[in-house]
């Protein structure tokens, strides 16, 4: 209970300082929109093609955006050594991690919600036909990115070449989650419900989230207390 309260404090703090400077929001949002635009030039996709790889395309953009967001996650604590104060405070490592992961989730999810209509316009898709399922799947995929990303951000925060190292470690690990969420998004974008043989993807995505969240919460203290 205290852990959740502390996590909420950290998340609120992270979001507040992000909205104050808008450093990662602005850069990530413009970056995502530019990539979406570039892709639409590169492929000039027909409706059939979109049904086949629309989800993949969208999640490529989100994966890039996610790396940009989580890169700032622990780096935000570096100036003035704020991380020391947080670790010495009563908040546990798990609470710090969860708070930061939630903040990254909210930021990324917000950016995704802006990108979705842009995607619809550029690629001429009526994406809102199964909006409920789509948002649910987006949330699951975003949590996978935010959770694993924030944890690896803690692992790599003190490194030279941190901006490069984080995606190098993150993307290979995320392949199962990204693959599932791409498949699911593909179907949902065409307005169909998730077919029965796709529930395996859903299970894989949920299983991945459960396992990565558990491991991260369990190991956060080890990583943060040096």
């Amino acid at each position: 209970m205290t852990t959740l309260r502390h996590a909420a404090t950290i998340a609120a703090k992270d979001l507040r300082s992000e909205f104050r400077t808008k450093e990662s929001i602005n850069s990530t949002l413009s970056f995502s929109v530019v990539i979406l635009l570039l892709f639409s030039f590169a492929f000039d996709p027909s409706p059939d093609m979109i049904a086949e790889f629309g989800g993949g395309l969208l999640w490529m953009v989100f994966a890039f955006a996610g790396a940009l967001i989580v890169n700032r996650s622990f780096a935000r604590e570096l100036p003035n050594d704020c991380i020391d104060v947080l670790v010495s405070s009563p908040a546990s490592g798990a609470a710090l991690f969860l708070g930061k992961a939630v903040a990254a989730f909210v930021l990324l999810f917000g950016i995704e919600c802006v990108c979705l209509p842009v995607f619809g316009v550029f690629y001429n898709i009526t994406w809102w036909r199964s909006i409920g399922g789509l948002l649910g799947v987006l949330a699951l995929g975003t949590w996978a990115l935010a959770c694993a990303g924030t944890f690896f951000s803690a692992l790599t925060v003190n490194l030279r070449l941190r901006e490069l190292m984080l995606p190098m470690l993150l993307y290979p690990m995320l392949i199962p989650a990204l693959l599932s969420v791409m498949m699911l998004t593909n179907t949902l974008l065409t307005g169909q419900a998730i077919p029965d043989d796709f529930t395996v993807w859903l299970r894989l995505l949920i299983g991945f989230n459960v396992m990565f969240t558990t491991l991260s919460v369990y190991l956060a203290e080890t990583v943060l207390v040096r």
């Binding site: 609120a12 300082s17 100036p79 003035n80 947080l86 670790v87 009563p90 203290e221 040096r226």
Partner: protein, 233 residues
Amino acid sequence: MSAPAVAAAGVWKYFGDYPALRDVRFELQPGECLALLGRNGAGKTTLLRILGGLSGASKGAVEINGGDVRASETRAKIGWLGHSIGLYDELSARENLRTFGALYGVTTAMITEWLAKVNLSHVADSPVREYSRGMRQRLAVARSFLHEPKLLLLDEPFTSLDDKAIALLQGLLAEARAGGATIILSTHQIREAMELASKVALLDRGKLVHFGERTREMVEDPGYLYRTYGGAA
């Protein structure tokens, strides 16, 4: 007999194979003030970080008031002031104190009180980035005393502070001691340390070469300690 405020039992800290701390052991009773002396690289900061739970000992154990440092209740009673101010530049003074206050369970009323105490009420809602150096330091001091800690860990507190902040800090430290708080401060400036300290510890290359009461010789002759026990550069 209650548990000692700080007990270090044979603390070792390795960086790889290099022992930054070697078998450091001491006990501090509640209300005492320890000046931690030693040249650069002697392990002062490393020891303070272990006592504050920022870093784990490789061997040995540290107990604060008889409890483990990484237990949440123990850390709720520790105040930490490191080399840097530990504040968020883009947030205002009030938001900074509220954030940290929330972690320690400090009320809003007390935060307002503290802002007045460190003379920052008039700028409480502008971002810390716009503050002068002295203002930032005063806010950092307020942050570390906010939750009325029972143990204060201060890393070189007097080196980066300006006169006003030093006066403020010394006042608060005296107040805290009167309230029964234990204080450990690492320092270069022997004179200022001696005014406050009741005990003196000297670290040399990770070893605790001296630990004991502050004596008259130490106060009168700043070079005495290093000459007697070694550990000077």
